[in-house]
């Protein structure tokens, strides 16, 4: 068989196998059938593969019985159910059930709003005496600030500008005038 197969091209052998297993294209089927009619060797190979393919196609799936299925439920799934904890269950409910997650969001927002309203700062109520006292103190403070500004203005105008800045400038001009007068005399 090996020798016979080596006389046939690899491509033809592949087509023969596909035809034998019934998954070749219609053109390949025609080609192989025609080649098998002309060549006994090809027919022998084809029949051999067809016989094997026929047996292979009789093989059925093995059956996993219901008894085995129920033992799975009793043993394995109890372990899974024990492993699941409250947090995972809660997350599953919130994520997978839109109505429940919407209700949870509304509840959360409601709780936040209520807690915000309850913790508003309480306004302190001042007495009339306290208000008048504060007013007086404010007036005194402003008066002090005003005096400081006035003193600063006087100091700046009279002492700084007049004495420190203006006087030297005037002296300078006097010197210049004197020099001009002396120059005219000469």
């Amino acid at each position: 068989m090996k020798q016979i197969e080596s006389e046939i091209s690899e491509q033809m052998l592949d087509k023969i196998i596909s035809v034998a297993y019934n998954d070749a294209s219609i053109w390949d089927k025609i080609r192989v059938m025609m080649a098998a009619k002309r060549n006994k060797k090809i027919k022998a190979i084809l029949d051999s593969f067809k016989s094997t393919a026929s047996e292979v196609h009789k093989i059925q799936e093995e059956v996993y019985s219901n008894a085995q299925l129920h033992s799975l439920k009793n043993e394995a799934i109890e372990k899974i159910e024990l492993k699941n904890n409250f947090v995972i269950d809660l997350l599953n409910i919130v994520v997978n059930k839109p109505i429940i997650s919407t209700a949870a969001v509304i509840l959360l927002v409601g709780m936040l709003v209520v807690s915000f309203l309850q913790t508003r700062t309480v306004e302190y109520q001042y007495s009339q005496t306290e208000i008048e006292s504060a007013h007086q103190k404010a007036k005194q403070a402003f008066a002090i600030i005003g005096k400081v500004f006035n003193d600063t203005k006087i100091t700046f105008e009279e002492e700084v500008l007049g004495e420190k800045v203006g006087a030297p400038i005037n002296e300078g001009f006097d010197i210049i005038n004197l020099l001009f007068k002396e120059g005219d005399k000469k």
């Binding site: 592949d14 093989i59 799936e61 059956v63 085995q68 799934i77």
Partner: protein, 174 residues
């Protein structure tokens, strides 16, 4: 758990496929049962993410991955390869439609021999062969399940068929 309709549907649809594939890959009925249980547990854990109408490739991929893990563990632990003749007697269901005793015996022998030779195939060829020939998956489904290109699936299938034929010819010659 088995009361949940979606889960029940998936298990009833695919339990035999999972079990059959595991038996052929692991050559051991006990390991095949364990893998089948583990796959079912994985399906249960991922039940909400699994699309019931497109679950086949995911389930077969999971089964294949678990089988590979088992085979690796077995190789690491240097477990003795299970003697096929001991393990498979009674592992596979025997079906015969003929009434003639000699015919029944002959058919059974050929049937069992073919199954044995399928199991002896190299892992990469066997996985493709079992999915295509026994479980009826399409090229694209096998490609997705085994994470290989479609052309590779076709090449492996062809090689598996040639290998099987070669081994059966040896058996007939003997």
């Amino acid at each position: 758990m088995l009361d949940k309709p979606k889960y029940k549907f998936l298990i009833q649809q695919y339990k035999n496929k999972i079990y059959t594939y595991s038996i052929y890959m692991l050559r051991n009925k006990i390991d095949a049962e364990e893998v089948t249980q583990e796959v079912m547990i994985k399906i249960w854990k991922n039940i909400d993410q699994v699309n019931a109408l497109a679950a086949k490739t995911w389930i077969m991929k999971t089964t294949n991955n678990l089988c590979i893990d088992y085979l690796r563990k077995r190789a690491i632990n240097n477990k003795r390869e299970v003697d096929l003749s001991e393990d498979f007697e009674g592992s596979f269901s025997n079906k015969s439609n003929s009434d003639d005793p000699s015919s029944i015996v002959h058919n059974k022998m050929v049937y069992e021999k073919i199954k044995e030779e399928i199991i002896r195939l190299p892992e990469n060829l066997k996985s493709v062969f079992v999915m295509y020939e026994i479980q009826g998956l399409k090229y694209k489904e096998i490609s997705i399940s085994l994470k290989m290109p479609i052309n590779t699936v076709k090449v492996y299938l062809l090689r598996a068929r040639k290998n099987l034929q070669k081994e059966l010819k040896k058996y007939e010659a003997d």
